[in-house]
């Protein structure tokens, strides 16, 4: 037997996805403004789905408080921009600041397990929200807007936002891909499957979880700052809303928890649903919630996970494969 990581399919698909970045980079020059905006939104969803999947699907951490970082990133960007930092650097810096905040939070929260971690994170998000609305410089509950963006023409804004979102999604997915292929990736999945057993064979449980937690915080914060760049207004209540986590859970579950490709597919599915039914408001949310329950109960491996099982399909090789050696 030989252990292999790459197959012909995965080599072809990974290469083609990387090559796909080249035409994607030229989209703002070719496609309509509307299409560019939509793709930007899609990339933000991909980031959110992949980050939540990294937490739950690979580290076994179900968080219902990721909106904490989504909101903190946007908040930090507003404050940085108010202090004269260039608006596009501020998007990245703001997300980095949120990731720095995530470090002490992780030391504390990662000691909780299961449902306690889940609701504990929600409380953390509520605390962040409560503190942000005390800050008069972002206008409390009313919020404010990223005024500095106005120095760019709408067309430039659109193109820059697009490139930022594309770049962010590509960098974060690559980081996650490399992380999962590394030793940490294997230890993470061991932790997810059985924390005590993993610890007993020498896996450093807290360190492994901590890396994913901070990466996911950074990713969600970056998604938040990008969302701020596309929508310009910052209303704390909508950025710190639990519906962001609901979207993340839906995307990851629908696509396939614990698969690399699944959340990307989930984000596309969510994007299409949002595009088609988003105007129906409440019923659309009811449908999302019901679908999440349905996927959790009836199709726990999600769309991609089910396909993967049936056709043994692995587009991005994050695992190991056993092959009979050629004699």
């Amino acid at each position: 037997m030989r252990v292999r990581r790459w197959t012909r399919v995965s080599a072809v698909s990974t290469t083609s996805v990387v090559l796909l970045l080249i035409p994607l980079a030229f989209v703002p020059a070719v496609l309509s403004a509307d299409a560019v905006d939509k793709l930007t939104t899609l990339f933000i969803y991909v980031i959110l789905a992949a980050m939540w999947n990294a937490l739950a699907g690979y580290a076994g951490l179900v968080s219902v408080g990721q909106q904490a970082f989504f909101g903190l990133g946007a908040y930090a960007t507003i404050r940085l921009s108010q202090h004269g930092v260039g608006v596009y650097p501020a998007l990245v810096l703001g997300a980095l600041l949120a990731a720095v905040v995530a470090v002490p939070i992780s030391l504390f929260m990662l000691r909780l397990r299961g449902g306690e971690f889940a609701i504990g994170m929600w409380v953390v998000a509520e605390v962040c929200f409560g503190l942000v609305i005390l800050d008069k410089s972002v206008g409390g509950l009313t919020g404010t807007s990223l005024i500095a963006l106005k120095q760019y023409s709408p067309n430039d804004q659109r193109a820059y936002n697009y490139w930022m979102a594309l770049g962010a999604a590509a960098v974060l997915l690559t980081t996650l891909f490399l992380l999962l292929r590394s030793r940490t990736g294997a230890s993470l999945q061991a932790i997810r499957d059985d924390e005590e057993a993993a610890a007993s064979v020498g896996v450093r449980v807290l360190a492994g979880k901590g890396i994913v937690f901070v990466l996911a915080a950074f990713g969600c914060a970056l998604a938040g700052t990008l969302w701020l760049a596309t929508s310009i207004t910052f209303q704390p209540k909508s950025y710190f809303g639990v519906e962001w986590t609901a979207y993340m859970i839906f995307m990851a579950l629908a696509g396939g928890l614990g698969t690399f490709e699944g959340p990307i597919l989930g984000a596309i599915v969510f994007f299409v649903i949002q595009d088609q039914f988003g105007d129906n408001g409440v019923w659309y949310l009811v449908g999302l919630g019901a679908a999440a329950v349905g996927f959790a109960l009836l199709l726990p491996r999600g769309l991609w996970g089910t396909l993967q099982e049936r056709f043994d399909l692995h587009l991005f090789p994050v695992g190991y494969r056993l092959r009979r050696a050629a004699t």
Binding site: L112, V123, E126, W283, V293
Partner: protein
């Protein structure tokens, strides 16, 4: 004196939190499920009482109808959703109940809109009546009633768990479901009973929420967080601990609000995080809920 009043009001509010939290605690203790839809179910109960009250029924009579209905709903919830999700692993119940929370609150929004509702107009003078203790301390009769009901309910639950056949089966299943099965306990029936009790008590708490203040379709999230905070502050697996936790939470919120009205929620969250930190320092690791502490230890 104003501070004493805030403490008194906080204690009374704590009774409500304990009532809200005891079902959450029971389900966590017995099935190891944290039901993220708990608060939404409480608010659903409040809306059901509200609808009946609008049709002329006294809220108290409405409760006689709503509580059994919600109990059956809890039983069905366990049988249809939770039982299946428990088999699929640790994460699935969280995902399923979170989905349920989104479904319930948005359905309520669809039916009742964004308006704040209250049961206050339907309970006669009970809403206004109060005892004046001193110039600055008045105790609303309604708040006192809720507190007394909460304590009575917790006491009844405790007696029920200790002395009845079903109560013993619940404790045995909480301790070790496989062994309990071996000695003839039907664990899935026991789980369904626990869910029924939990959802019915949540609905009762929801009705009291509606009488004390107001609620809307999305109030469930806040109620879930309060219930969970009360459980954790008081120590998981102890009903009287939940009462203590509820009181600590209520007092913290009222004192916070006295300092600055915006600090009501924040003060509660901070106390919750402090309690968590203290627990981590004392035990070194996250405590896995032990329902045995509920009755066994101090029996």
């Amino acid at each position: 004196m104003i501070w004493v009043n805030q403490v008194v009001q906080g204690v009374l509010l704590g009774g409500y939190y304990a009532l809200l939290a005891c079902g959450l605690s029971l389900m966590f203790g017995v099935m190891r499920i944290i039901n993220l839809a708990h608060g939404a179910l409480a608010v659903l109960g409040a809306f059901l009482v509200f609808v009946l009250a609008k049709h002329g029924l006294s809220p108290w009579v409405a409760l006689v109808v709503v509580l059994p209905v919600m109990g059956v709903a809890g039983w069905a919830l366990q049988r249809v959703i939770l039982e299946r999700s428990l088999r699929a692993g640790e994460l699935t119940p969280l995902l399923a109940t979170f989905g349920l929370l989104i479904v319930i609150s948005n359905l309520l929004f669809e039916k009742f809109g964004a308006d704040e509702r209250s049961l206050f107009p339907y309970i006669g003078t009970l809403g206004y009546d109060s005892w004046t203790i001193t110039k600055q301390i008045t105790i609303a009769k309604l708040y006192a009633l809720i507190f007394v009901v909460a304590v009575a309910l917790l006491g009844t639950l405790q007696l029920f768990l200790r002395h009845t056949q079903l109560g013993r089966a619940l404790r045995a299943t909480a301790e070790d479901p496989d062994t309990a099965e071996l000695v003839g306990v039907n664990s899935s029936a026991v789980y369904a009973a626990a869910a029924a009790i939990a959802v019915a008590t949540a609905a009762l708490a929801g009705a009291f929420l509606g009488m004390r203040s107001s609620f809307n379709a999305y109030s469930g999230s806040d109620q879930l967080i309060f219930a969970f905070e009360a459980v954790v502050i008081g120590g998981i697996g102890s009903l009287w601990g939940t009462l203590a936790g509820g009181i600590v939470l209520g007092v913290a919120q009222n004192i916070g609000a006295q300092l600055n009205p915006q600090w009501f929620l924040l003060a509660g969250h901070v106390v919750f995080l402090a309690a968590l930190a203290l627990r981590l320092v004392l035990t070194g690791v996250g405590v896995r809920g032990g329902f045995r502490a509920l009755v066994g230890e101090h029996a």
